[in-house]
Amino acid sequence: MREILSFLYNPSLSESSALCLDDTYFSYSQLRERVFLIARHIDAHQLRNSMIGIYVSDHIDTYASILAVWITGNAYVPLHPSYPSGRIESIREMADLKLVLSTIEDVPGISDKPVTTNTTRLSIEGLPPTYPLIERSQNDLAYILFTSGSTGVPKGVRINWGNLQSFLRHVDSMHLGLPEQARYLQMFEFTFDLSVVSILLPLIHGGTIYHVSSTRVKYLEIYRLLEEYEIHFAIIVPSVLAMLRPYFDSILLPNLRVMALSGEAVPLGLTQAWQVCCPNAQFYNFYGPTECTIFCTVYKIPRSEIKSHNGIVCIGSPTIDSKAQLRDESGILTSSNLKGDLWIGGAQTSPGYIHIEELNARLFLEFEGIRYYNTGDIVIQDDDGDLFYLGRKDHQIKLNGYRVELSEVEYQAEQHLKLKTAAIVSTDQKGIHHLILYVEGTEIDSETIRAQLQKALPKYMLPETILLMQTFPLNQNGKLDRNQLRSLYESNSPQ
């Protein structure tokens, strides 16, 4: 950990740019000053090994708060402004937050407990200009990220320093060949674990983070930063590229050296077309659930003869401290060339969800002394050991990079409406995913439903379209026929 965060104590980096936010640069010394100031404040609360909430924003203090939480020997839990207050409240309770750091005065869902600090109001006067790093052990937590949960309650994935160190060990072994003081894109919400690598990798290597502002139209802002600032390293979600695809003919990014696609299944055609726009970049596909620390398999995408299955690019092989196993529904190892559930084990696998022991007992199992996590992804493996993603075994989907349990959307809708609902995802011809909610009943209007859902779900989980239906179609087994609903939507959709 000391090595990971050594950039905070490296005087030779002081004048280099650490961060570019809304076209304003912040040097390493400016970042360090904010980190140490916030760290002193955390210290005043006498917190160690505690969970500290960070109500995130497009502000240097959000970055500084993450680092301050770490050097004071604590773990952070990001809270997103798009979360309804009820969701923040349940995260506060589950994670037992001892302090919330924010850049505003009042955080929704946090009333009297715990103490909330607006870090922008902290004063530097009279404080020593440094703060000694508190060393952590492998089992101490670095962060908890809450993801969509099928029972309507978000699941808190715990990631410890051992997980994070193993992950970074793999990234180091990739020898990315970036120049000194390279420029890195950071397009991810702080509640998404790809933000962790998009923050740490630049800082560890003395580079600059280019933050994609949440107030701008994301796909256009990403292109603007890549082009205007001649970015060297970017991890991008495929659905963002799908939005830029109509303009690929006019895009040329010769300075891009590393282009990683992640967060969703990676379409082959899109990848090949994007490779033309980035002639000097080494392409990668990074795969991994939050439970296995950022990404746990990697495929180095060649310029020709890209491995793929059903139009989806190969997800490659496990990172150096990870192991992959394919098991059938009974948990038995599958024979070679047969599809199976992907289990990921090893040093990157999370210690489990916070306070959901039943789920931990079901999804985190030990085989031959190694702890594995059942990803719920169905894969096959070729003779080289490379893995290919085939789909999900449940109703979890990726929507613009966000992990969404359709059953959570349905659960929250049914709780509030007392009506039967069915959430489906439709993918249009451009490869963009759309979340649709069908509601059984006609005595309610879609605006009322939307208003109810806004109280319970984060913005990214809100259905794009809400449709009412007298009676749901059923399949031969008498179960809800989601395929028919999807066909119905697509046959009536203008796209």
Binding site: T215, V217, Y219, E221, Y223, V240, M243, Y247
Partner: protein, 77 residues
């Protein structure tokens, strides 16, 4: 109809906001449903409505609705 009125009608449909009144200084942050997906749809509809085509480099320079109206004006004249 002038550009602002036509654009306002289009915005009301795309952003599902029947009473939306557009202003030159309005940005994505001012409209609840204005995100990447609806922005993409809005640009497509504007191109059809005004029989024009935008370049990516033009789109990234747009800071607000006023910039969009001015760009439409330049393209149709």
């Amino acid at each position: 109809m002038d550009i602002q009125t036509r654009l306002q009608d289009l915005f009301r449909v795309v952003f599902d906001a029947p009473n939306l009144e557009i202003r030159p200084d309005m940005t994505a942050g001012d409209v609840e449903k204005w995100d990447s997906l609806t922005h993409l749809l809005m640009i497509e509809r504007v191109e059809v409505e005004f029989q024009i085509k935008f370049k990516l480099k033009e789109l990234i320079k747009l800071k607000n609705v006023g910039d969009l109206m001015q760009l439409i004006q330049e393209k149709i004249t």
